[in-house]
């Protein structure tokens, strides 16, 4: 049981390039989330999905796109990379019930846009 996995771990992009951040979970969770974490700023929600085929915007969606064709995978797409997208990106899935409900986070992808 690997939990939530993310690839790549680190990437350098040039301004204007595009890339896809991969996220996979093996816990059969319906809900999945993408966050970005900037130094001293906590985590901000980019997009989330409540199940295959259903996605919605979070707090900071501009410059990003997502898709959810399967329960397991929730890729995040950057079409035209900008320096403001330099950040650490975390994918998470939701599991548990009631007080045991939690989000399980992947190890993150560190992105540098130059």
């Amino acid at each position: 049981n690997a939990g939530v996995t993310q690839t790549p771990k680190f990437r350098i992009l040039k301004i204007g390039q595009s890339m896809t951040l991969q996220c996979t979970q093996d816990m059969n969770h319906n809900y999945m989330y993408w966050y970005r974490q900037d130094p001293g700023m906590g985590l901000k929600l980019i997009y989330y999905s409540v199940g295959a085929g259903i996605t919605d915007k979070g707090e900071v969606p501009n410059g990003y796109n997502v898709s959810r064709s399967t329960t397991e995978d929730f890729p995040l797409r950057l079409e035209l990379a900008a320096p403001s997208q330099t950040s650490v990106y975390f994918c998470a899935s939701r599991g548990g019930l009631g007080e045991a409900e939690t989000q399980y986070f992947g190890p993150g992808t560190r992105l540098l846009v130059l």
Binding site: Y33, G40, G42, L43, Y48, Q103, F105, P107
Partner: protein, 112 residues
């Protein structure tokens, strides 16, 4: 969106010392979660508090939820270097969609 204020932003202490970090809001929380994030890793849930006045203990960590459910604290007794990390509080701002809003965190360093 409810703002979560965490204090202090940074804390550096010696091994064996006690410490308390805080999470506050101007609005009432339905429930509150504390996460710890170690360097280079994603956040990991420590505890969820739901009832005003609630106290939960996790080994050397004690979590309190304010009576009015507008504030919470995390107290660590006899801190160890393994406690080093970013401590984040979070609350569910999305109802059934369970969208978490995070505070900016307290970065704790415990020196041996």
């Amino acid at each position: 969106t409810q703002l979560l204020e965490q204090s202090p932003q940074f804390l550096s202490i010696q091994e064996g010392e006690n410490l308390t970090v805080y999470c506050n809001s101007s609005s009432v929380f339905s429930s509150l979660q504390w996460y710890r994030q170690e360097p280079g890793e994603g956040p990991v849930l420590l505890v969820t508090v739901v009832t005003g006045g609630e106290v939960k203990k996790l080994k050397r960590l004690t979590f309190q939820f304010g009576d009015a459910r507008k504030d919470s604290s995390l107290h660590i007794t006899a801190a160890q270097p393994g406690d080093t990390g970013l401590y984040l509080c979070a609350q569910n701002s999305g109802g059934s969609n369970y969208k978490l809003t995070f505070g900016k965190g307290t970065l704790l360093t415990v020196n041996p």
